[in-house]
Amino acid sequence: MDSLLNSDRPPVFCPGCSHDRSVNVLDRALQKLGLRGSDVVIVSDIGCSGLFDTFFNTHAFHGLHGRALTYAAGIKLAQPDLKVIVTMGDGGLGIGGAHFLAACRRNIDITLLVLNNFNFGMTGGQFSCTTPEHASVSSSFLNALEKPFDLCHVAACAGAPFVARSSVYRKDLPELLKEAISCEGFAVVDIWGGCPARYMKKNPLSPKEIEAAIEKLPTYQGVVSANVRREYSSHYRQAAAKDRREVPWQGIETIFEATVRERREVVFLGSAGQRVITAGGLLARAAILAGMNVSQKNDYHITVMRGPSVTELIFSPQAINFTGVEEPQVIIALAREGVRRCWGLFEKMKKRGQIILASGVEIPPTHGQILEVDFKAGGIKKKEMALAACYLLARDRDPITVEMLEEALKQTFKGKMLEEARGVIEKAASISLHE
């Protein structure tokens, strides 16, 4: 195959820069693979490695510092047949560390070439995550305080199935890159070279010295057998093809007459685990079965299994413009946590308002009429109280009826869950009330 180098735009690196060599090595690897320019995208990072895409007649994507792996992953997922090659320096690797780890873990078929020259060449030779502690760079003494990392070791630990380290001067580097590009998965090649303009001014680095330094480190020559596994994008497609779910949101048909003529506000004040949001959803569905407009707004702690659980419902034959509750007609007070959260709400309640109060729950002074219910005595468990309260509302036909509630239960639950819910309704029906 022909060279994919862009004859209109020859490399513009400093004299003696190892990147010149990397450009030619990559071209030879692409030739060995017999790839056309349109089979390949070069995603380049920032810095001198960020110039690579301009030297090739391939697809090209040049983005932000350290983020090249993210663009590459998006491209590969969208165009699974494309060969995706990322060129990045040691600087980009450091700033994009999280993406490097994620790429190793995720194993999308991308080849990452780290053009490792131990410093930020373009910005003045500052230290990077691979600069040796003993090197003299433009960051004064700072690099002496930080330990450089072995990116091959990190890649292997994080799950990359192909990891190799090589001097840019190695004769068979094109062959190694060919293997890396052919590997179906995330392949990392750590290519060591020198930056004559910055790093090598104070830290001489001959090809022999590079070779000697690499030999002192653990060897990475390609396939990491422990990490060989399925490639992510093909795996994703296979898994997604099995996902036969239908769109989860289905309409609720009107089968009952509406029971309310004007806006009604109902608030459940409970605690985590009392299923107040589920009960609110049932009440909502029951009302929608009668063609009413409903809104439901929930409030609970980030730690969802502890603390207050509040649900606010609005029922209206007209459109609901304002979704906040101002003067609730009904408060269902089931637990101290929820009551504490909405203490001020009781004050706002008008005389015609109704409060269903679980025995033992303290509430502030209020104008509303209190209906105290001893759920416990009625054999109703903590997690059943909210549903039982729905029944008490339905029995008074405000804002729903018992028939509407039963239909909502039938549409929401199946099997054992439905039986249990019906059991709660029966227990609620036989409860004795003290006004």
């Binding site: 895409d53 301009t54 993210t70 998006g74 407009n293």
Partner: protein
């Protein structure tokens, strides 16, 4: 099909599917994480891709890659995550990469309150990235708007090759409402214009046009994308006149077309001397307030609900405010969009009412402001 009972985030997911979204990536953040769930429940089964990124920077990065490879893409976050999107948003502007960014706003500053709504980011979405070039921001006022405006957002992103924001709010995104889908507006779908014939330069525009034709990375014709200042060929340019022409075009392609996507509702009442201007979740309270003022207190007040926030639909504002003695801007923050209204209506008295306590602004508060003003 009956009434749907869905929240704003689910409606955005439905709108995205309808609008042709094929790729969604985001990092979980309250109150946007239920949108990630909704996309996972629907998009893979519809043949699309959902990715949970390792962070917000990655999530938008995945989208930009997939968009350039030809897919319609969307990401979702809230204030803290939007901060991390910033650099990639300016890339999407510079590289003319279509993307829909859903911002479910919550109480700031900083980490703020994850489960409390606020219109925290109204200026941030416009000005929160380098370069100062315009973006499109659409603000749904309720659940059904979430559907319609998301479809519009995809269309505009495709049409103008730019980032388009959906500026939602926890109070819309996580509050369920009944929606009659048969009555919800469903815009026609627009796809990006593809390059058809002749030599292809990735950022070349045809004479008289401002948006370059698109080809995907990965097709038979080579495509270049770059975040660097570039000429029509997608290579770095240092030519000052080419640079200036490039940024002016990026500005013009959005701002010159504002009238084609100025979405708003105007409730005009005869004899009104006050105009309320609202957007987002507060629009509902303002609607209720205006209705009550008229029906119960015989005070006619007009209401302008803006659904396009950026670029500022100046003609809409000027038209609605003409002849009004008082303009009252109501928003769930300490006064952000009111600055734009004051700029546009510089000869009129523009008052402001807002709060940022995690609580909704109520119709009662708005009525008090109108009568007291």
């Amino acid at each position: 099909m009956g009434l749907l009972f869905i929240d704003g985030n689910q409606a955005v997911a439905m709108g995205a599917l309808y609008g042709g979204c094929r790729f969604f990536a985001s990092y979980p953040i309250t109150p946007a994480s239920t949108l990630l769930s909704a996309m996972l429940e629907t998009l893979p089964a519809a043949g699309g891709i959902v990715l949970q990124g390792e962070d917000e920077i990655a999530s938008i990065g995945y989208c930009l890659g997939a968009s350039m490879a030809g897919m319609k893409v969307m990401t979702a976050t809230s204030g803290p995550g939007l901060s991390l999107y910033s650099e990639n948003i300016s890339f999407a502007i510079a590289g003319e990469i279509p993307i829909v960014i859903v911002n479910i706003m919550r109480q700031g500053p900083s980490t703020g309150s994850a489960t409390r709504g606020a219109d925290s980011d109204v200026q941030f979405m416009r000005w929160g990235c380098s370069g100062g070039l315009p973006v499109i921001v659409l603000a749904p006022a309720n659940v059904s708007d979430c559907f319609t405006l998301t479809v519009h957002a995809f269309n505009l992103a495709e049409q103008f090759r730019c980032p388009v924001f959906i500026a939602s709010n926890k109070e819309i995104g996580m509050t369920s409402q009944t929606v009659d889908m048969e009555r919800v507006e469903k815009p026609l779908i627009i796809d990006r214009t593809l390059h058809e014939s002749g030599p292809f330069l990735p950022f070349q525009v045809n004479p008289g046009e401002d948006v370059p034709a698109f080809l995907p990375i990965g097709g038979p014709i080579l495509v270049r994308q770059t975040s660097s200042t570039h000429g029509p060929d997608g290579y770095i340019t240092t030519d000052p006149s080419e640079i200036q022409a490039g940024v002016e075009r990026l500005q013009r392609k959005i701002e010159a077309n504002i009238e084609s996507f100025s979405y708003f509702d105007l409730e005009e009442r005869k004899g009104a001397r006050t105009l309320i201007v609202a957007y987002g979740i507060t629009a509902g309270a303002a609607r209720a307030a205006a209705a009550e003022l008229f029906e119960k207190q015989n005070v006619p007040v007009s209401l302008l609900v803006l659904k396009t926030l950026w670029p500022v639909p100046e003609q809409v504002l000027l038209g609605a405010a003409g002849g009004m003695e008082q303009i009252l801007v109501v928003e769930m923050n300490l006064g952000q969009y009111v600055q734009e209204v004051r700029r546009v209506l510089c000869n009129q008295k523009v008052d402001f009412y807002g709060k940022m306590s995690g609580q909704l602004i109520s119709p009662r508060e708005i009525i008090k402001e109108v009568l007291g003003g």
